[in-house]
């Protein structure tokens, strides 16, 4: 079943087109990684899917019963959040906004849902802690729990591991993989090309050349080859430098 179909999308801002001719399909249960250079339009694509921005042209079709507000979203962290006085409970609970409709306050159901998702991500014991005092990995889990509160079907993640240490990065990938195996569709922007081809079922490469297909096809495609080799070369290079140090 298709969750999202994009046809011939052009993205960008008034005067500058970032990317055009973008067509792809996300099916239920997919794990799609969006890769590409900085400024290629990855985040813009995500914002467009979430209706935060209008496409310049082309159309997006949503699967049955999937409204943009039912897509969970893990945005990149903002400056404001770094010194925001909020408890973990408050942050996770704010993911239930969609369900509030006309009500002013959260119901028992909302609270139960928040708790359930916190347990799922192993942060149930952090509930009363202050968000800004947590480690980077814990903060990302809190935001992921919030995203889960907003959806049961699909999560969009914008560079969920940027700034995390290797341990936390691994854990984050494991959590995302687990969520995917439970049937939640994953769409993730990533700079970590190795992890992308390891975990994802599909790859969307945005750049001078656009590629969309399964991970296997991506490995064999010209765009994928160049990118993979340079990515691996980069990380090996970094590994060597660390050893030197």
């Amino acid at each position: 079943m298709s969750e999202i179909i994009c046809r011939d999308l052009s993205l960008g801002y008034e005067n500058s087109i970032l990317v055009s001719g973008l067509s792809f399909e996300i099916r239920a249960g997919d794990y799609l990684c969006i890769v590409g250079e900085n400024g290629a339009g990855k985040s813009t694509l995500m914002r467009t899917i979430l209706h935060l921005q209008k496409p310049l042209s082309g159309e997006i079709e949503y699967g049955e019963g999937l409204t943009p507000s039912e897509i969970g979203y893990l945005p990149q962290q903002t400056v404001v959040q770094r010194d925001f006085p909020a408890s973990v409970n408050e942050v996770v609970l704010s993911g239930r906004q969609t369900g509030l409709k006309g009500r002013a306050f959260y119901s028992k159901e909302d609270r139960a849902c928040a708790e359930e998702n916190m347990e799922k991500l192993g942060i149930a014991d952090l509930g009363k802690r202050c968000y800004r005092e947590l480690s980077g990995g814990q903060q990302q889990r809190v935001l992921l729990a919030r995203a889960l509160c907003a959806t049961r079907r699909m999560i969009l993640l914008d560079e969920p591991v940027s700034g995390l240490d290797p341990m936390a990065t691994m854990e984050m990938y494991q959590i995302i993989k687990k969520l995917n195996s439970e049937g939640i569709t994953i769409v993730m922007i990533s700079h970590d090309i190795r992890a992308s081809v390891e975990y994802a079922t599909h790859i969307l490469h945005i750049g001078s050349e656009i590629f969309f297909g399964t991970t296997e096809e991506y490995r064999r495609s010209p765009a994928g080859r160049i990118y993979l080799e340079s990515g691996i070369a980069d990380s090996e290079d970094m590994g060597r430098r660390e050893e030197d140090a």
């Binding site: 897509i71 979203y73 408890s87 408050e90 704010s94 906004q97 509030l100 002013a104 009363k128």
Partner: protein
Amino acid sequence: MDKLGLYFSYPFVRYALIVGVLIALCSSLLGVTLVLKRFSFIGDGLSHVAFGAIAVASVVGLADDMILVMPVTIISAVLLLSSGQQTKMRGDAAIAVLSVSALALGYLIMNIFSVSSNLTGDVCSTLFGSTSILTLKLSEVVLCIVMSVVVVTVFVIFYNRIFAVTFDENFARATGTKAGMYNLIIAVIIAVVIVLGMKLVGSLLVSALIIFPALSAMRVFRSFFSVTVCSAVLSVVCAMCGIIISILASTPVGSTIVAVDIAAYLCFVVAGALKKGSLV
């Protein structure tokens, strides 16, 4: 104590206390949101706009200057808050430009078309709110009570949404919250609070009422709810102390209240440091 009892037998003192407490309560509610959204100075900018509007109103000879001041301030607030994200002029620059322009033009207008014999006194009391709090009419007190009830009710009803929009506007938008509308509500509340607050502490000091309680509370408390409650309580207590001290010591009301706010802030800084276990 006797002196205090005597003063409280005058209705204008009771009015001042009621109005002071209500204004302090309202102004503290949105402080947290404004500080976190990097809009600490919006109070300053808007109050100067209100000052300009008061100048125009007095020159035109409006009996009730609220008719002009309130709409002008609300419109400015909406423009400032809605333009914050995506404009040619950044938020703080826009506030600075608006604030100094309104201040300069307001004073200029007052000077050129002055109808009062004591111009300096008029300007000074508008800027520092020296006497207006003690010369309130019953109708103004009622207006203030109604406004406060509206502000507090709106804040409580939209508390969860305001939290979501402040913490992460993009996420709130993505999950279908009409962030634009809540920013608008925040802007309108701020404008109302500022016009009311000017009566208490004057237009130069009204920012203090908005940001000090929030900053103090953020030093010690760790959740949005506790910070909000703490800053509301703190603001009310400080305003009461300030008004009483100013009556007993015959000091200007506005600056006394702000001085108490500063003292409270310093206490909270120390308390926050002690709580963390170090004085750094």
